[in-house]
Structure formats: structure tokens, C-alpha cells
């Protein structure tokens, strides 16, 4: 994931969670930056301001956001930047706070501008000691602080796999490790393995694990497709559970050369834009018999034709797919506005064929403000639909492989779940007509009035 989006994702997530504890969004935003900086600081001490500046930061952290304190701070940084090349970005950073006008979105937008221009670590460098401690103190008072773009999603995925104690769980593109951490909170006795190709992601993942008291995650910096970590004498190691959120919108060529992937895709080699299918096959490859694989993908790849449809057909024939869940796109808001699905595969050891897939549409009922206030409720709702699909016939249904074939191999739940037609609600329609009459009359009166004044 691009660093800019990544950092913004972290900031938005943390800031949202810190807002109730800070006096203003700016307070929370700065605390969020501090959290991020906490870990990188130790390895990049040269990037951090010397002690003489801490007075300036104290002024900022105490939220004295009057123009005079910002001016003062800006001056300090400008002087320093002139003396020392390493600090050249700092005046920019302060300008951004000045321009941000206090509103959270603008503030983040401006930060985004700076991040897109400068190296991320350098941009993080305008943080300093006291703020880190304030932020960490705040963070410790929040029970549910889970950094990560997919924090709310992690709650859902953790509820959909059921690893027994002692299981090994692997996330091949772990990002901030939010999925692993959420799972560990449900089932404490697990061995967790996280891998990512971004050093920054892994750094924050470690901070995330630390903040959540999860210390037993083994992290590796490696490329999942080209040269994955966690191998044993027989090759890439297999795990009881594999959780994967493949990178969105990338092509295989961006990530790894296909020539570097010999024999990894026994079904059908993914091509070009089929990155998700490369990750799905890889995740299945890394899951041991009897294990579970959970993958999040965009809707687009479940309804596409051509090569991807053939890949879906091959996969369906393996009889491993047992669950497809559509989730509210706002679950990923504000990072991504896409519609997406969770796929669950069971690598069953049983010879009995399942020959059907449970399709669940949980996307609509929470497409409102409600769930954003209470993210865990989505997880509970999905769990309820999965365990008792028969109670929600318009939202959950077992679909046979034949029916999926007839629907041109589409794996989108919405295709198989049509809401029952409801009898027209006359009362509501009458009310709507009455209201619209009022609005139309007002618009007419307004028009006549303006016409009279003008002509």
C-alpha cells in the first residue's frame, strides 16, 4: 500500500478513537502522529528535534493553537531548518497545522499534501518526546485501540474463523497486523505470523501489537508472491489459518515477476490484473489440510468474466469455498469506498463433498451511521447470519455449485439473494405526496416572487 494512504489511514483511525479523549481533533491528530512516531523514533533519532524545541511542542500539545504560539514555534523551526538541512521539512509541517484551520478533515488533507511531497519518515519526524508520552498515556486508557485501516473489518474476520488453541495463524499481507491482533483477542493461545513488504507497515504493526498487549507475533519483511518468509525444510510452511487482505488495484507485474512464481498456482496461473487470485491461491497453498483461509476481495473480481471466471470455476471444483459474505463498504471508510466480500475456504479432510456455498449479504443493513458508532455490532450481525442462515432467507442462502455455474460463475451474494417483494405502503406514499406537494408549492412561490421582482 502506498505510504501516503497508509499513514493517512492510520491517522484517521487513531484520531477517531482518540477524539473523545482529546480536547479537539487537532489534539487527537497530533497524538496519532506521536503514536506512529513512537517506534520509528528509536531507529531514526537524528530525525527528531533536539531538546531545545520541546518547549514549542509543549505549547502545541497543550493545544494553545493561537496564532502566536504557532508563529513562535514556526520561527523556531525555520531557524533550525536554516541551520541544519536535516530539518528542512519542519516549517512546512507547522504551516500545515496553521492552514488546517482546526478541522480534522482539512488537517489530514494538508498532512497528506506534505506526505506526498516528502519521505514519510522525514514527515513523521516533526514529533518529539513529551508528545509521545502523552499519546501513549492516552492510548493506554483506551481499551479498544486497534490501529489499522481495517480495524473494524478485523473484528468481523476474527469472528469467522475458529482456530483451536495452539493453532498457527498467518497473514501474508498483514499491514498493521490488525487482523492478527483482533484474532488473538478472541483466542489468546495462538502462534501468529505476520508478513508484509513494507517496513513502515511492519513498524506500526509492532507498535500496534505492543499497544494491544500482543507480544507473540512473529513478523517478517518479505514479498508474499516473489519470495515469502516462514519456510521450513520442505519449503513454504503451512498454517492452520491464513487471513489475507490482498493489495487492491495492483497488477502482478507491479508486485512480482510471474517467472518468480514457479509451481505456486496449481489451478491456473493468474495473469496481469489477477493479483487477488494470485494471493487467494497462495493463501490456500499455505493452509494445511483441515485448515481455514479467509480472504477479503473487491466485488469486481467476483463477477468478472474471462480468465478470472475460469479461475473461479477451477476453485469451485476444489469444493473448498464454503462462505461468501458481502460487507458494508463503509466498513472500510474513509480509506476505501469499494464494495467488498469475504471469502472463506475450508481445506476439509473429509471426502464428502459439500457442493454448495453459503452466500450472505450483510452489506445493506449497516449502510448507515449506526454501525460506525458501534463497529462490533457488524461482527455480531455477520456471525448471527452465518450461524443461523435459515432465519434470514433474504440475506443468507446455501447455493449449489450448479446454480453458481448457471449464474456464470458469479460469486457475488447479491446475485443469489433477492429481497421479497413487499406490498406497497400506501400510507408512506400518501405522506410522501403530501410532503412533495408542499416542497413543489414553495418552489413555485419562490419562482413567482423572483419573477415579480425581476421583470
Amino acid at each position: 500500500m502506498d505510504n501516503t494512504v497508509f499513514v493517512r489511514g492510520v491517522l484517521v483511525n487513531v484520531v477517531k478513537r482518540l477524539i473523545p479523549f482529546g480536547r479537539t481533533p487537532m489534539d487527537a491528530a497530533m497524538a496519532a502522529l506521536a503514536l506512529l512516531a513512537y517506534k520509528v523514533r528509536s531507529d531514526n533519532s537524528h530525525l527528531f528535534p533536539p531538546f531545545e524545541l520541546e518547549g514549542g511542542w509543549t505549547a502545541l500539545t497543550s493545544l494553545d493553537r493561537t496564532s502566536s504560539s504557532l508563529e513562535h514555534f514556526h520561527q523556531l523551526l525555520t531557524d533550525l531548518a536554516e541551520r541544519d538541512e536535516r530539518y528542512r521539512y519542519w516549517p512546512d509541517a507547522v504551516n500545515l497545522f496553521k492552514e488546517a484551520d482546526g478541522t480534522f478533515r482539512e488537517c489530514l488533507f494538508e498532512m497528506d499534501n506534505v506526505y506526498s511531497r516528502v519521505d514519510t519518515l522525514a514527515a513523521l519526524s516533526f514529533l518529539t518526546g513529551p508528545l509521545v508520552h502523552v499519546a501513549l498515556d492516552q492510548a493506554r486508557t483506551v481499551d479498544t485501540l486497534l490501529l489499522g485501516a481495517f480495524g473494524a473489518l478485523a473484528e468481523v474476520t476474527a469472528g469467522l474463523v475458529d482456530p483451536p488453541p495452539g493453532s498457527a495463524v498467518y497473514d501474508p499481507s498483514c499491514g498493521m497486523a490488525d487482523q492478527l491482533i483482533a484474532l488473538q483477542k478472541r483466542q489468546p493461545h495462538l502462534s501468529l505470523y505476520g508478513q508484509d513488504n513494507s517496513l513502515l507497515a511492519l513498524t506500526v504493526a509492532q507498535l500496534n501489537a505492543f499497544l494491544n498487549g500482543v507480544e507473540r507475533i512473529e513478523f517478517a519483511l518479505a514479498d508474499t508472491l516473489a519470495n515469502p518468509a516462514f519456510k521450513d525444510d520442505w519449503g513454504p510452511r503451512q498454517f492452520d489459518v491464513v487471513l489475507s487482505v490482498p493489495p487492491f488495484g495492483q497488477t502482478i507485474g507491479n508486485v512480482a515477476s510471474p517467472s518468480m512464481l514457479p509451481g505456486r498456482f496449481p489451478l491456473r496461473e493468474p495473469k496481469g490484473r489477477n493479483l487477488e487470485w494470485a494471493f487467494i491461491q497462495d493463501a490456500l497453498y499455505r493452509t494445511r489440510s483441515g485448515g481455514q483461509t479467509l480472504v477479503m476481495v473487491r466485488s469486481g473480481v467476483l463477477n468478472s468474466s474471462g480468465h478470472e471466471a475460469k479461475l473461479r470455476k477451477d476453485l469451485l471444483e476444489t469444493d473448498m469455498l464454503d462462505l461468501v459474505v458481502s460487507l458494508p463498504s463503509r466498513l472500510l471508510s474513509p480509506y476505501l469506498g469499494v464494495k467488498f466480500q469475504l471469502l472463506r475456504f475450508q481445506k476439509s479432510v473429509s471426502k464428502t463433498r459439500r457442493s454448495s456455498v453459503l452466500f450472505i449479504d450483510a452489506s445493506k443493513d449497516f449502510a448507515d451511521e449506526h454501525f460506525r458508532k458501534e463497529p462490533p455490532s457488524v461482527a455480531l450481525w455477520v456471525r448471527q447470519l452465518v450461524t443461523h442462515p435459515e432465519e434470514f432467507p433474504t440475506l443468507a442462502r446455501w447455493v449449489s455449485h450448479e446454480e453458481i455455474e448457471q449464474a456464470r460463475m458469479s460469486w457475488l451474494p447479491e446475485i443469489y439473494l433477492r429481497p421479497e417483494e413487499q406490498a406497497p405502503n400506501l400510507e408512506a406514499l400518501e405522506h410522501e405526496v403530501a410532503q412533495q406537494t408542499q416542497v413543489a408549492l414553495e418552489a413555485r412561490e419562490r419562482f413567482l416572487k423572483v419573477m415579480k421582482e425581476t421583470l
Binding site: D2, V338, L426, L429, E432, Q436
Partner: protein
């Protein structure tokens, strides 16, 4: 009355093909793609298709409040199809498709609502038709748009005219919505009375 060329007062660009906006970048945002059919003076209307635009490209393509959009297609009718990006449209990120021209005013000498109204008028269309090259394809080019002469009444007159016409647009829209709601009610009443008899 003083006339000015649209190209002098405004920057005129063309929306980009979806494929170009989506062509690269590993971090993207799903944004609304405004097409000719979505244009209205009261804002962007109807269902939008979506484009996945790389973050670093969004700054270049993102529509702003006050942008005037003109359909480059279907100019065989008397007047142009013109839309205004309104405040309410800013709730989502929007970009313009390839068949839409974006007119962004450089100064405040012209009231944007007035300008949009003028561009939609027959007078503007007549100027374009005389300038349009070829008859095989009714496709407007943005150079011809820049050559349109815009009459410049006083700011007060521009404002008055815009307010009058936009209040009429609002009145027409709300009346259409009322008719739609009444039709739905009628249909529902019919179904309730006779719907069960067909089976």
C-alpha cells in the same frame, strides 16, 4: 453590451477517459464519474458510475464546487447540456468523464450561475453550430467552446437572471418529483385494489 470570450475568463479542460485516470497507481480512491447524463444546473444528478483513481491523480482530476460542466456529446439539439457542481455534490469525490468539458472561472467578473445559464441558451448553441466543423459526428471541441462570446451585463443583472432561471429550474424539478410521487401512489392504490385478482 460588452462581450468577452469564454476562453479568456475561464479555464476549459476536458474530463479524462476512465482508463487514463485508472491506468496506474497502487493506492486509489473509488470516486464518482460524472457523465453527460448526470448534468443539471441544480447539481450532479442520477446514479454515477465509479472510477478507481490513483491518489496522486485525484488532485488533477477532482471536480470543485462551482465547476461548470458541459456535455461534449449530443450537440445536435438546440441547446447544450450544462451542469453545475454544487455545494451538496462535494460530499463525495467526483471526476468528469471524457465526454464532459470542465469550465472553471479564473476571476469573479462573471457569475457562474449566469454563465452556466448562458451556455445552456440557444444563443450559445447558435454560435457553436456555426463554428462546428463537419456534420458526421456531433461532437463539440473545447477550442470552439473557448471562442463563444459571452455578453457581460452588470453583476447585479447577472445575479438576478441567474436567480430567476434557477428558481424556475427548482420549481420544475420539484413539480416533476411531485408528479412522480403521485404516479407511484396511483399505481399502489391500483395494485392494492386489483393486484390479487390476476392470480
Amino acid at each position: 453590451m460588452k462581450l468577452i470570450k469564454l476562453g479568456q475568463e475561464a479555464e476549459i479542460t476536458r474530463g479524462a477517459p476512465k482508463s487514463r485516470m485508472e491506468e496506474s497507481g497502487d493506492a486509489f480512491e473509488e470516486v464518482g464519474l460524472v457523465q453527460a447524463a448526470n448534468l443539471s444546473l441544480l447539481g450532479i444528478e442520477g446514479g454515477l458510475t465509479f472510477a478507481r483513481v490513483a491518489h496522486h491523480k485525484l488532485r488533477q482530476y477532482r471536480l470543485l464546487r462551482g465547476d461548470i460542466l458541459i456535455s461534449l456529446l449530443d450537440v445536435s439539439n438546440a441547446s447544450l447540456r450544462v451542469g453545475l457542481v454544487q455545494e451538496a455534490d462535494m460530499e463525495r469525490t467526483l471526476v468528469a468523464g471524457a465526454n464532459v468539458a470542465i469550465v472553471r472561472l479564473r476571476s469573479d467578473a462573471l457569475e457562474r450561475d449566469y454563465l452556466a445559464l448562458y451556455l445552456r441558451s440557444n444563443a450559445a448553441a447558435r454560435q457553436l453550430y456555426s463554428a462546428r466543423a463537419g456534420t458526421a459526428q456531433s461532437y463539440l471541441n473545447i477550442v470552439a467552446l473557448g471562442d463563444i462570446d459571452i455578453p457581460m451585463p452588470s453583476r447585479e443583472q447577472q445575479h438576478q437572471m441567474a436567480e430567476l432561471h434557477l428558481s424556475y429550474e427548482r420549481y420544475a424539478l420539484e413539480t416533476q418529483r411531485l408528479l412522480g410521487a403521485e404516479r407511484q401512489l396511483l399505481q399502489a392504490q391500483f395494485e392494492q385494489q386489483f393486484g390479487g385478482m390476476s392470480g
